[in-house]
């Protein structure tokens, strides 16, 4: 494939950049409709309780309140996974976490709707609650979901190769427990949904529903609305406005999206619900707190012989993406390095906290933290440089891993070389002085899942293109722009293929009435899959234009070049027009049956009478010629992953396989203050193999953004719990880093040119996040000699590790501050649910009761 592109590979401002920088672009909460009502949701104050009764009378009577909806108004379950339809939009019989959804009041103003919530009387029977996953797994009674014994959502047990033999062959074995605490997406735009019914002119009754929502998955939303409202999908239109970030937090249907529609149906008026920031934290669907018990064996030459991982995920109260998350934790042990023997035992556990879902890097991130840290430990044990041990375990693609993953393009070797070179690794490691160090780690991710969530034979993406007489290229794609640049990618691929300018292309996206289905912006599938569909649609239209242009210019279609808004006959002379061939002048018949030239109007007609065939046409002339011949120019392209990429047949094999994997290698430079435990990241060199960078500015932005988010999880971000209550539902308390806390990141683009990606492109938005966390923990080891096994590496944890290494007395930082607070309560997920040991609750505290968690008393 030629590398001489006119659009691809050039730094390009996003096609919607002006909307964003002028504030003219509309996000869901910016939208309004006549007669709009505002909805507010009443949340559960208890982590686990039965709803005995709900009385909405007082609320409904409040002046300005139009309707109040409760669980009985929509008693149908749904969930993002076909096996996980365990949620009601509003709780029907039980609430399962503090923040669960109980009722919704819609009123003429936000203030009145809020007042109405206070007038809703809910009678709860409080139940024992579970907060610690290892305790929850032992539950015999008061299960969170009756159909899930031991509160176990799902467990998997995989053995590939012969791990026992592998460990026996190892010269060094490391075994440790790693804990990655809970983090959440905290996208800047809170979730928001606007729902409105139209009146059907034939029946006179409420008919079609239109929903605007801040979503990554408009088609899944359409599907779930159809299930819960019991309406055909054909009567539901979902439109995605601008979305202010998702990172997975909007990759499934969030309760307010269905509640808004249920409320609009009852109120018979448009309803908009926008979460407060606190509600966004309660909605969550982020990365679960994960306990990884990891064992790895290596030989003296650095070769990994076996890996055994036991993973427990604290999944929260509903299934959400849970089954997929626990599978990713095991599956992507493969496809990065060559590991011949793997044992994986994964447990996805239910607890009475907001449900966890998919978050950038999904289930791979926390296991990658454990693995890359442990690999570093083993490198030290055998006296090998950590960069070199990784280079000793590279795959040799094309290949299929021991757990059935197909790997083709594999830029990991170059990523490691580049990051080692640019960071000065060889010269600087171990030589930066006390308290300063370098660490290296690698990671990877799928470019979309080869097997779709809802199994079918349907393509994963379809794109339509319309080119009309005005010479405008309209691309209809179901792909969802969420800030990652999907609309721009779509326009670039169409423009490059058709050889037209970017400004000629208009992208219409994510409107279920107008655009063909794309299954959504998650698992980094959009560039690879929707991009391929766009490419195919553009190629189909190009063929029609080429056929017409070839006739006009009296040459073979293959000799045409589409570039810079021109279609030229290529006679081996770049830019020069070929001599005009006057011989063949006979008018060719067109689709209308009339001789060409007669159906044209105006100057073009006159011009064409005077000229014979020439060597070059403008894009518009070529389009007009094509429309004459074929009628309207439309093309359609679809993409479905090839069967060879879909993986093995073992239970759970469906998750992990991808048509292509991205690769990342990173070096982090950190300083550690030994007196305070504070870690400062000075710089991260991040090399990412994205196949081909379609838009270098966007690719670099995604690399930097994912490294930054990984750093957040590594150093400061953590959801802190106490009795099922989130202690820090605010951006500053959650410690999302600001500009002063964020390091310089040097993104390094590596291009392995994937054989199946569009122009060779693969994903670039998730693969880098996972490596940052262990790159930092490995750098901390280089700086001060301590290995951290729990993230985030807060000053408290770092200091505790430093002091332990020095055999110093452990410092209880809460000593004297709160005598009832147990030692290191955070490390136990904030569980103070021990009978008699927790703080004394006030007599009037509604959360006070005497029931204990777990099984029998």
């Amino acid at each position: 494939m030629s590398n001489d592109f006119s659009i691809i590979g050039k730094p390009t401002a996003m096609v919607d950049a002006a909307e964003k920088t002028t504030g003219s672009g509309k996000y869901t909460d910016d939208l309004s409709l006549p007669g709009l009502l505002i909805g507010k949701i009443l949340h559960s104050p208890y982590p686990h309780a039965r709803i005995k009764s709900i009385d909405t009378n007082r609320a409904e009577k409040l002046h300005g309140v139009v309707a109040v909806v409760i669980g009985k108004d929509a008693p149908k379950t749904y969930g993002i996974l076909p096996v996980g339809h365990d949620e009601y939009p509003l709780a029907l019989d039980k609430v399962r976490y503090v923040g669960d959804n109980v009722a919704c009041a819609v009123a003429t103003s936000e203030a009145i709707a809020e007042k109405a919530l206070e007038l809703i009387d809910v009678d709860y029977e409080v139940l024992p609650a579970y907060f610690d996953p290892e305790e929850s797994m032992k539950a015999e009674s008061h299960l969170i979901h009756d159909h899930k014994p031991n509160n176990l959502e799902k467990d998997y047990h995989h053995v590939f190769g012969d791990p026992e033999k592998g460990f026996a062959e190892a010269d060094e074995v490391a075994e440790a427990r790693f804990i990655a605490n809970e983090v959440t997406h905290a996208a800047m735009e809170p979730h928001s949904t606007l729902a409105a019914f139209e009146v059907d002119p034939h029946t006179g009754k409420p008919g079609r529903l239109t929903v605007w929502s801040s979503t990554q998955v408009p088609y899944y939303l359409q599907h779930k609305l159809s299930l819960v409202l019991e309406m055909p999908m054909a009567q539901i239109r979902v439109i995605k406005p601008l979305v202010g970030g998702g990172f997975g937090g909007k990759s499934e249907v969030i309760p307010l999206e269905i509640i808004a529609a249920v409320a609009a149906r009852k109120a018979q008026a448009p309803v908009k619900i926008t979460y407060t920031r606190e509600e966004v934290f309660w909605a969550h669907r982020g990365r679960p707190r994960t306990i990884v018990d990891l064992k790895t064996g290596v030989k003296k030459d650095g070769r990994i012989t076996a890996v055994k991982a036991r993973v427990v995920q604290d999944g929260g109260a509903y299934c959400s993406y849970g089954v997929v998350t626990i599978l990713y934790s095991g599956a992507l042990l493969g496809a990065l390095y060559d590991i011949p023997n793997i044992q994986y035992d994964g447990y996805r556990v239910l607890t009475n906290k907001p449900a966890c879902g998919a978050m950038r890097g999904h289930g791979t991130v926390n296991v990658r933290f454990a693995f890359e840290s442990q690999l570093d430990e083993l490198a030290a044990k055998i006296g090998m440089d950590p960069a070199e041990i990784r280079q000793r375990n590279l795959l040799e693609p094309p290949c299929i891993t021991v757990n059935g993953l197909r790997v083709q393009s594999y830029g990991l070797p170059e990523c490691i070389e580049e990051t080692v070179k640019r960071s000065g690794w060889k010269d600087r490691k171990g030589k930066l002085g006390k308290g300063r160090g370098l660490g290296i780690a690698c990671s990877h991710y799928v470019s979309g899942a080869a097997n779709s969530i809802i199994r079918s034979d349907m393509p994963h993406s379809t794109v339509n293109i319309k080119i009309d007489r005005d010479g405008g290229v309209v691309v209809y794609t179901g792909a969802s722009e969420i800030g990652q640049g999907s609309d721009t990618m779509t326009a670039q691929i169409a423009a490059e293929t058709l050889g037209c300018s970017l400004s000629r292309v208009r992208v219409i996206a994510a409107d279920t009435d107008l655009t063909p289905i794309d299954i959504g912006s998650y698992s980094s599938r959009v560039t690879f899959m929707a991009g391929n569909a766009t490419l195919r649609a553009a190629q189909e239209v190009k063929k029609l234009i080429a056929a017409a242009a070839a006739k006009k210019m009296n040459c073979a279609e293959e000799s045409l070049t589409f570039r810079d808004d021109s279609v030229s006959r290529n006679n081996g002379q770049t830019g020069a027009l070929a001599p005009v061939d006057q011989a063949e002048q006979s008018p060719a018949a067109t689709v209308s049956g009339r001789v060409e030239g007669q159906i044209l109007r105006g100057s073009l007609q006159q011009k064409r009478k005077d000229e014979g065939p020439k060597g070059q046409m403008t894009f518009e002339e070529a389009v007009v010629a094509a429309i004459d011949f074929h009628g309207a120019l439309t093309g359609t392209g679809s993409y479905a992953p090839p069967p060879e990429a879909r993986g093995g047949k073992h239970k759970g094999a469906g998750v992990g396989p991808s048509p292509a994997y991205s690769y990342s290698a990173q070096v982090a430079e950190v300083s550690v203050d030994e007196d305070t435990g504070e870690v400062t990241v000075h710089k991260v060199w991040a090399a990412h193999d994205c196949g081909r960078a379609l838009n270098p500015v966007s690719v670099e932005g995604q690399i930097i953004g994912s490294v930054w988010m990984g750093m957040g999880q590594a150093l400061t971000e953590e959801m802190v719990w106490k009795d099922g209550m989130l202690m820090n539902p605010g951006l500053l308390e959650y410690r999302s880093p600001s500009a002063v806390e964020s390091p310089s990141v040097e993104p390094i683009i590596v291009e392995s040119i994937d054989p199946e990606g569009p122009f060779g492109a693969k994903e670039c938005s998730e693969g880098s996040l996972a490596a940052t966390i262990p790159a930092i923990s490995n750098a901390i080891y280089d700086a001060v000699g301590v290995r951290l096994h729990e993230s985030p590496f807060t000053p408290e944890r770092v200091l505790a590790a430093i002091r332990a290494m020095k055999h110093a007395k452990s410092v209880n930082l809460t000593e004297g501050v709160d005598p009832t607070s147990p030692k290191r309560f955070r490390e136990h997920g904030g569980s103070l649910w021990f009978k008699g040991k927790g703080p004394e609750r006030h007599a009037l505290d509604p959360c006070r009761h005497d029931v204990s968690a777990g099984g029998a008393e």
Binding site: E19, H185, M188, L242, G705, L732
Partner: protein, 163 residues
Amino acid sequence: MKKELIELRVNRRTHEVASEPSALLLDVLRQQLQLTGSKRGCDDSSCGACTVLIDGVAMMSCTLLAASCQGQEITTIEGVSEHGSLSAIQKAYGDWGGAQCGYCTPGFIMTVKSLLAENPDPSEEDIRAALSSNLCRCTGYNQMYEAIRSAIHAERQAAATTK
């Protein structure tokens, strides 16, 4: 609370608005004036997405009572483009990837305008410190610094050529 008539001067135009005395400037801008460019991203004035200029100074409109802004010159993101064209900082944010999802962008641009008005040649430290009042979840801030430097350079070029 009963609404009262107040007069707000926004983006060099005067508006008469009926709003409660307790109404926040952010809500009046977004709802009564339909200037939805300023965003709400948090509950506790911690994110800066609502940043506007009050007499040229960057302030969080979610923490200001609309009624208290009478007599002041309010500038929102909608007042930043020049004669229908993007200003240098807006163009630079697009060209350099300073905006990804764009939700925090209006707030950042107002903060940057305030910074550059006060300090036309800021150091990297100055820029980071000034931007620390606005949170972003997409970009990691790096490309914003490049955008800001590019905008400063572009404005200097423009000023030089008009001399």
